[in-house]
């Protein structure tokens, strides 16, 4: 006798294994200006090697730092030139194209205020928006949603953050309720069963009632996204190969974009991708990091195409908890570090540049003689986006969204 249902399909597994996203109503001030901005946040969990993604090929110490593991313009495959100093990992032709057309910007030597090297604490800081780990009641995106006055399109109390998968990321947790999108491959419970259960929860467990209500509301918002998807069902549960990782990234990001693009859909979302903790055989130009960056690049393409018309009002921020060691470790990988990169893409951006106050790579210029020294506070970038794209007030940004960040000025000019 079996325990649960049917063998899960490939699509369900892909979506069920770790990406999440979130959303809420449309910001009123921006709407008053005749804009309808979208913001998607992608968290790369595990700490992205910023130097492996965007290489400072013009730095005289670059080659001596990484030796034959350094990305170079005449490498195999060659790194993609961004400007006279930086070059992009060759796994990311889409990002390169977006950059060249001014629809992508890269921030380098950037970090949150966190200076230790625990993934989990680092992600807490990245996602909570607080300066120290431990404050895990709510995420900065959720608080940003609350600070935006609803444009009347959706009752603010009915606004929802949405997650794909079953574990909600901290960045979207908080007082604004979170809505989970799940693929509808299982025979769903009937509407009748759902409303009876809702009635039961309302009498016995208000928190569960909120969750169920969110799910029912989402189901009614539209048909299930991804319908007509050509991906075939695959009942095997083998560990994900890179093809499945690519498919997963594209599927999850593409689904997020489809929701954000809808006229009556949410305007703000977040999701996470795991797998960036490249301790062994990092494979910057052919192995695991190359593959992951390629999958991320595919996710960018899926977002761009699924956003449709809304692309020109879209900003996507891709962030990670910290960087990795500047030098390669003893196992051809990198250990936990500090400074890294953030990617900003979208039709709404004023891109085409690498934003960096370059710290240099000489031993004395490295943070604790081991990591890329952070010279830009990631909060300045996020505050700039929230202020100029969504019109979150600067005072609120300093007090509520990123508490204690009054000295960190929002970075201007990111949005076109």
């Amino acid at each position: 006798m079996g325990v649960v249902n049917h063998p899960p399909t490939r699509r369900e597994l892909l979506v069920g294994s770790g990406a999440l996203f979130a959303w809420s109503q449309m910001p009123r001030i921006a709407r008053a200006e005749g804009r309808d901005p979208r913001l998607l946040v992608i968290v790369l969990r595990g700490a992205l090697d910023g130097l492996g993604a965007v290489a400072p090929v013009g730095d005289p110490d670059w080659i001596s730092l990484r030796g034959d593991r350094a990305l170079v313009l005449d490498g195999k495959p060659p790194a993609l030139p961004l400007d006279a100093f930086f070059a992009l990992n060759p796994a990311m032709p889409n990002l390169h194209r977006l950059y060249k057309s001014g629809k992508a910007a890269i921030v380098h030597a950037v970090a949150t205020p966190y200076r230790e090297r625990s993934h989990f604490d680092g992600q807490d800081v990245l996602e909570s928006g607080f300066t120290k780990p431990g404050a895990t009641a709510s995420g900065w995106l959720n608080r940003a949603l609350l600070s935006l006055e609803g444009g009347g399109r959706v009752d603010p109390r009915g606004s929802r953050a949405l997650g794909i998968g079953s574990v909600t990321p901290l960045v979207v947790r908080g007082s604004a309720p979170v809505m989970t999108w799940v693929p509808q491959k299982l025979l769903p419970a009937s509407e009748d069963t759902q409303s009876r259960l809702l009635d039961l929860y309302q009498h016995t467990d208000p928190k569960l009632a909120t969750v169920l209500q969110a799910r029912m509301k989402l189901a009614s918002l539209s048909g299930a996204p991804g319908r007509g998807d050509p991906m075939s069902d695959d009942p095997t549960l083998a560990p994900p190969g890179i093809a499945r990782v690519r498919a997963y990234f594209a599927e999850a990001a593409g689904t997020a974009a489809r929701y954000l693009a809808k006229p009556d859909g949410p305007r703000v979302g977040a999701m996470g991708f795991v797998g960036w903790d490249t301790h062994i055989a990092e494979g910057v130009a052919s192995g695991q990091l190359y593959n992951l960056l390629g999958a991320l690049d595919g996710a960018f393409a899926a977002i761009e195409s699924n956003m449709g018309e809304a692309w020109r009002e879209t900003a996507v921020a891709v962030v990670t908890e910290f960087g990795r060691t500047a030098r390669i470790n003893g196992t051809q990988g990198t250990d936990h570090g500090t400074g890294t990169v953030a990617f900003l893409i979208g039709g709404g951006l004023a891109g085409g540049r690498v934003i960096a106050d370059w710290p240099g790579l000489k031993p004395a210029q490295l943070f604790e003689d081991r990591d890329l020294k952070p010279t830009t506070d990631l909060r300045a970038v996020l505050k700039g986006l929230l202020r100029d794209h969504l019109r979150v007030e600067e005072r609120v940004l300093a007090d509520v969204i990123f508490p204690g960040s009054a000295d960190i000025k929002p970075m201007g000019g990111l949005v076109g």
Binding site: V3, V4, G163, R173, V178, G330, T331
Partner: protein
């Protein structure tokens, strides 16, 4: 049996066990605390485990299959190339020159055909890791379904998650790891559990220690390789002391040096012992190391064992472990008095985990907390199935369901394991409805919701739930509502 005794028994089964099953309330009788403690005296070993391979054997089996796959693929590749060369020598060179683009396309197709042949040849040899994983999953799950209370099984699950590995990285060993390292020590001393877990090949593989070598070790110098900090950091941060408890980056590096040389016997070279733990002095960083202010001068595996002993005995470890246990069993924010009682028991008994568990269930604070803790998906599924009396599992369905619910068996996405707080899981409750609804559909021919409420739960279910079940339009709907009720979701 009084109603309050029944209510205590139901709470015991939900909070500390795997959930009520037919007959379990009667078996607990009027004294749930003694019944929980008595369960800890029974053997934890899985009776049917003798049919399963050891972790080393499982690893060798997969390694052998992989080697054969590689060989087959290479053979097929060579054959396909030969065939292509034979047919190409008959083609006209002029034509190819006239159509350089077509020629390039032709090469690409040929290359694809060669790769396809190689893949087909490799795929003809199936991966033995997957059936081993499924067998292990079946055994472990059936143990949870058939346990009288399931307190001991819950402790195995807890420690398995605390010292998690991932089957995404090392599928062949994932089940055997739990049996050999966790299950064998879950009611013993923490230090023994720690030593076994950290020297287990699955953990050394998972946390990247196999290739870590001292920069000044023989192999490090010869191969120009060095250290990987992963295992050292996670042992201190996740397995013992807890994050932000005073260790430094230097401590991590020194401890990583200590751990160099902890590796496994290469499976290809040794058909008897391949895949077993070994200490390889060639990889080991020579000389003494200082960890947390103490000097360790040993020059072999004893150095690592000594550090692990001291980490196990560190007061921060007692607090970390007590907090996590109390959070898992009792409440997201466990009563501080309870945590301190458990931490004290840990310190006073040199980390006797059975005593810590006994102190937990003997404390009034562990029982007084309101039943608000949201079950994790795995626990909830087992509770649902136990209520029906089913004890056999189709492991493909079961593991697939766990994956859908976000708690894939032995596949957490990071070394921290699956989280234990409501905020992480509550938004997935909607997903549980799909699973409950489907399960209800499958069993509605054999399970009677009224009988489950009366016999399995001794009617200790909220009156609103009884009412909803009574009014349901079908047996399937009644079961789905029952399984989804807060009485099933929370404890």
């Amino acid at each position: 049996m009084s109603n309050s005794a029944k209510a205590d028994a139901v709470l015991a089964l939900h909070r500390f066990g795997m959930g009520p099953r037919p007959g379990s309330i009667a078996a607990i009788g009027g004294d749930p605390r003694s019944a929980l403690i008595a369960e800890l005296d029974r053997p934890l070993a899985l009776p049917a485990a003798s049919s399963l391979p050891s972790s080393a054997k499982a690893y060798r089996t997969v390694a052998d299959a992989n080697a054969r796959r590689t060989a087959r693929a290479k053979q097929a590749q060579q054959q396909a190339k030969k065939q292509q060369m034979a047919s190409a020598s008959g083609a006209s060179g002029d034509q190819a020159q006239a159509q350089p683009e077509g020629q390039a396309q032709g090469y690409a197709q040929e290359k694809d055909a060669v790769e396809m042949a190689a893949k087909q040849a490799a795929d003809a040899i199936p991966d033995p890791g997957r059936p081993i994983y499924l067998q292990e999953a079946k055994l472990r799950t059936e143990a949870a379904l058939s346990a009288d209370i399931g307190f001991a099984e819950r402790l195995v699950w807890f420690w398995s998650n605390h010292f998690c590995i991932s089957a995404n990285k090392i599928q062949s060993m994932s089940g055997a790891y739990e049996r050999e390292a966790v299950r064998a020590n879950a009611l013993g001393r923490f230090v023994d559990l720690l030593q076994t877990v950290e020297s287990h090949p699955a953990m050394l593989f998972y946390l990247d220690n196999l290739e870590s070598m001292g920069a000044n070790s023989t192999a490090g110098i010869n191969r120009n390789r060095g250290l990987n900090e992963n295992i050292a950091r996670e042992i201190m941060e996740l397995h013992t002391l807890g994050v932000r408890t005073g260790y430094s980056q230097d401590d991590v590096i020194s401890f990583a040096n200590v751990m160099t040389g902890w590796t496994l016997v290469p499976p290809g070279a040794n058909p008897q012992h391949g895949g077993e733990f070994t200490f390889n002095p060639r990889l080991h960083e020579p000389g003494g190391q200082t960890v947390l202010g103490k000097r360790y001068e040993q020059d072999d595996a004893e150095q690592g064992r000594a550090v692990l002993r001291d980490l196990a005995a560190h007061p921060a470890t007692a607090t970390h472990v007590a907090t996590k246990l109390a959070r898992h069993f009792v409440a997201d924010e466990p009563p501080p008095v309870l945590v301190e009682q458990m931490a004290k028991a840990f310190r006073d008994t040199d980390g006797d985990l059975k005593q810590v568990a006994i102190v937990m269930v003997s404390s009034d604070d562990a029982w007084r907390a309101p039943p608000l803790k949201l079950k994790r998906p795995g626990e909830w599924v087992i509770g649902m199935v136990r209520a029906t009396g089913i004890t056999a599992v189709d492991p493909v369905r079961y593991t697939g369901g766990q994956e859908l619910l976000g708690e894939a068996l032995w596949r957490p996405s990071a070394p921290k394991g699956y989280p234990d707080d409501e905020a992480s899981w509550i938004d997935g409750v909607g997903r549980r409805l799909d699973v409950a609804n489907n399960f209800a559909e499958r069993i509605s021919g054999m399970a009677d919701p009224q009988a489950i409420i009366e016999d399995v739960f001794a009617s200790q279910i909220a009156s609103e739930v009884k009412q909803a079940v009574g009014r349901a339009e079908s047996r399937q709907q009644a079961l789905a509502l029952l399984f989804m009720s807060a009485d099933f979701q929370r404890r």
